[in-house]
Amino acid sequence: MTRSAHRLRAHPVADGLDDQAIAAAWAEAEALGGPMLVALRRSAMAMVLTDPRLPDNPIIDINAAFTELTGYAAAAVRGRNCRLLQGPETDRATVAMLAAALREGRAVRAELLNYRADGSSFWNALSLTPVLDALGEPRFYLGTQTDISGARRIGSVETTLRTQARELDVVRERLRLALSVAGAAAAWEWRIPERLVVGDERFAALYGITEAAAAAGISPAAFFAIIHPDDRARIRLAVGGMLRGAEVFSKSYRVVLADGECRWVQARGRSVNDAAGQPDRFLGALVDITEHKRIEEQLRIAQTAGGIGTFEFTYGFATVAVSRHFCDLLGLHPAAELPVATINGLVCPAHRPVVDPVTRAAAGDVTQREFEIERPDNGERRWLTLRGEYLRDTESADLRLSGVIYDITEAKRREAQLRTLNGTLESEVEARTRERDRLWRLSGDPFLVADQAGRWLAANPAWTEVLGWPAASLVGRTSEWLEHPEDAVSTHAALTRGGGESRFEGRLRTAAGDWRWLSWTAVAEGGLLYCVARDITAEKAQALALAEAEARLRQSQKMEAVGQLTGGLAHDFNNLLTGVTASLEMMRTRIAQGRYDALERYIVAAKDAASRAAALTHRLLAFSRRQTLAPKPVEANRLIGGMEDLVRRTMGPEIEITTRLAPGLWLTLCDPHQLENALLNLCINARDAMPGGGRLTIATDNADLGGATARASGLPAGEYVELSVADTGTGMAPDVAARAFDPFFTTKSLGQGTGLGLSMIYGFVKQSGGQVGLVSRPGAGTKVTLLLPRHQGSGPGEAAPAPPVRLPRARPGETVLVVDDEATIRMLVADALRDRGYAVMEAGDGAAALELLREAAAVDLLVSDVGMPGGLNGRQLADAARALRPGLKVLLITGYAEQAVVGEAALAGGIEVMTKPFALDALGLRIRGMMDGPPG
């Protein structure tokens, strides 16, 4: 039988259902059901009473809450079967399950989709209980209905978000790898008078030109050439604006790469004016946001489906950045920015404003509250919940409130209904002995009778189902022993509030030791409390899940912001870190000297730097792992030994692991972290290629490549360290092998592969002056070989605990000029050097430093930060200073971001480079070494 046919089946009308007959039926039902039934009938829970003795078990009566829920008035449903609530999407199996239970006269519960009189649908949590007569036969059926659509919807948003969270993980990982391959951002400097755009190496890669060509500068036309034709005009306009005096540039657009691939990028920039106030340079950077775009769209959909509006408010601004859905929820015209006053103006009196520009919170604080608004479009009142988090805005150093809102009017309305339905019970209620009370025993809803002191006098068997305790163990005492400590106060308050009826929620402990949330209705009658409870644990859990889902939602929005981070952040971070570690060192020194009075300034400096660093870390997230490439002499065998355990755990038991490490292996010079990463990636590829198990072989050897062999590998002849990872897996077809090293080439599904593993390895090995080889045959396995040049020299020298060095001190009269725009670092470096006996001068920027050099009699060494504002960077300062004082020794301090700036400087005699963060002692040693070295 089809569903619709089923619906259309004729319902035999129960004749003679006049008012008198209904009253008689109720009297009979109450006689059988007792005061509990009265309480239910009056409660805000929808209920229906049917008579199974009439044909097709028709409805005798319903209560007001049923009409409220379904839109059917009593007259419209009396005499009809409850299936009138069912419709096309109602699950057949659930209906059959109900029918079976009714045939057997059993109580039953189900959740199914039902339809209201107006055709709208809702999820109904249905509970059916037979009311038995003296012979034990069902005399009536009692049904209670609860709308759980809200909870259902939350569940589905939750699922969507969970899927997204997984995808986000994948994207995040992809991004991390992409960043380690390509760095964060391609940066350019547009020299406006020269009509030249100079780019860094990532810019070169993006534009498919050589680094030298990018450094020499390309024409503006070339700059625009890779922009997608549909976006080009827009970007030309925006750049046109920058060249004419606009200051800020923030655009996303598409670029078409050399291979035809189209990527979304986010570009941000600023203009710098010359002395006359004319635009002189336009500095910009762009990051690939292709993935973010996609995720953004998904989030937008999820937010709309979940009815969630987002907003962000920076303290002090007059407007709030809002999502379209935010406007919808407030009944406002869609806009990206809304004035604070507008939003707060909608909040009904007696509620706190949505964004309170006065009350300040601390970064990391979370706020949640409910408030009522009056929609300006239709005057309707709605309840909303707001959840927000206070964040420190790194750009403006201001506090931001970032959050979501959603509508809770339905829940609130139900809550209010429960409260207002405060009618006193009619005195017709007859006390019944529990033994005769069939409803009591059969209902799936937990019932309870208590005295006024709250002592439980009787509990129905449903308690055992809900809490696991036998009913007998519950009676005779108050529920204090079961209550959640946090709920005791509110429960007590609800019960003693007076009035005939009270409602409250609370948690009770189950026999298994966990907690169930119950929603109570208690009716006072004849000195006793009749209580009906409903298990709402699942709803509570879903509400919690929603809260978590939102948290993740915000997290993923943050991801977008994180994508816009550039190398500059890493630079900042190193600065701050140096501020902390150096302060600590200075404190130690001062303590050792017993100069406790001098500690305060270091404590302040360290705390200041640390809290700023903490804020930064928050945003850096996984990307903070991007490190300065620091080649070191590496003993590959030892490195592999250190990784073996990790590899074994990653491979699983099906894969047998063999290592063949050549004794007496030469040293090689490369970044050990990258090498570890490369080996791990190779092992993971091998594992993925051996789903049914197999053998993984990691081998090392010394390789002395003669001319021909070397030429074949594209390497100069010479000595190399060879590392290989071989598997007995699926191998690669020639077309796969040919593309395996391409970035983003993968044959694995989303979440399995990023296609960046081999390309990253390739980049790393080339950078280290080596070569990668690949041999693979389908079905026979794969071997990847890394050749890295031999390093002549002493090894890393297994960190023997450093001997207590005598700190090298200055010779009398030696003078150092310290230049850094970061005052903390300048102060610490200067103090540390003074401690070592140097005369120290300080300058906050390049210009001030040159001034000092012109005037001061003797400066032996210049220590300068590389990235500094005010026109002169460290490299340029060094050149200018050496022009003034040929042979001046210079030590440049650099963070990650400025490697490119330092450039060839490191090679020039007398200029040395030190990477942040560093220890003050190391700085002391370095300076001593330079002082003692030959003049620059």
Binding site: A221, L237, T319
Partner: protein, 214 residues
């Protein structure tokens, strides 16, 4: 001219945003010199709405006590420019201009002048550089300081009653000061049509400009 013709095309919309961006950047450097602090700007957001919708928007968006400096401009295109501070911020601005040392009462007595002067620097700077970019002169009225709610500030003039209005919002703030505010510009229908043409010229100039293009 139909309604659709009067609406800005996406490219014209972008171009107008850039023009405002340029104007505001210029104005900000003026403000910077006055208050001696770093001035942060948001990228401007522009909306063209019908007068009816504008009335609704104003009703929704503005409410509480505001202080505003208003300047009217006329020329090839004309309208009203408003520099709006939420209540409280205006005294901070005065302090930033006249210095922190002045006693409160005196600072307050200078509030009117200081506001008018600041408004003049910002609005004039913004409008003048827009006019300059569009290669059309505009005359700008003397600044007028207004107190009141949004409805007062945005009250339609007689004759404003139909067609479209250009709304423009830019947030600005001064670092280390609690000075925030925004700029709003209202232009009527004929002005918008004139502006559309000028913006079109501007687009052509930028696209054919050899400092940008080939």
């Amino acid at each position: 001219m139909t309604l659709a013709d009067r609406m800005l095309s996406p490219l014209e919309h972008d171009a107008l945003t850039e023009l405002v961006n340029i104007g505001v950047s210029r104005a900000a450097s003026g403000l910077r010199q006055m208050v001696g602090g770093e001035v942060l700007l948001s990228v401007p957001s522009i909306e063209v709405v019908s007068h009816k919708a504008a009335a609704a928007l104003i009703g929704e968006r503005e409410g509480s006590d505001l202080v505003a400096v208003r300047q009217d401009f006329a020329g090839a295109f004309g309208g009203r420019a408003l520099l709006i501070f939420p209540h409280g911020a205006s005294l901070d601005l005065v302090r930033a201009v006249v210095g922190d040392l002045l006693p409160d009462a005196e600072a307050r007595s200078l509030e009117h002048e200081a506001l008018a002067e600041t408004g003049n620097v910002i609005l004039n700077g913004c409008l003048a550089s827009m006019a300059n970019m569009l290669e059309r002169p505009v005359t700008i009225s003397l600044p007028q300081v207004l107190h009141g709610d949004g409805a007062t500030l945005f009250q339609p003039e007689p004759g404003d009653d139909d067609g479209l209005v250009l709304f423009l919002y830019i947030n600005f703030s001064v670092r280390n000061r609690r000075i925030r505010g925004y700029i709003a510009m209202l232009m009527d229908l004929p002005s918008l049509a004139a502006l559309k043409l000028l913006v079109g010229d501007f687009i052509n100039r930028v696209m054919n400009d050899d400092t940008v293009g080939p």
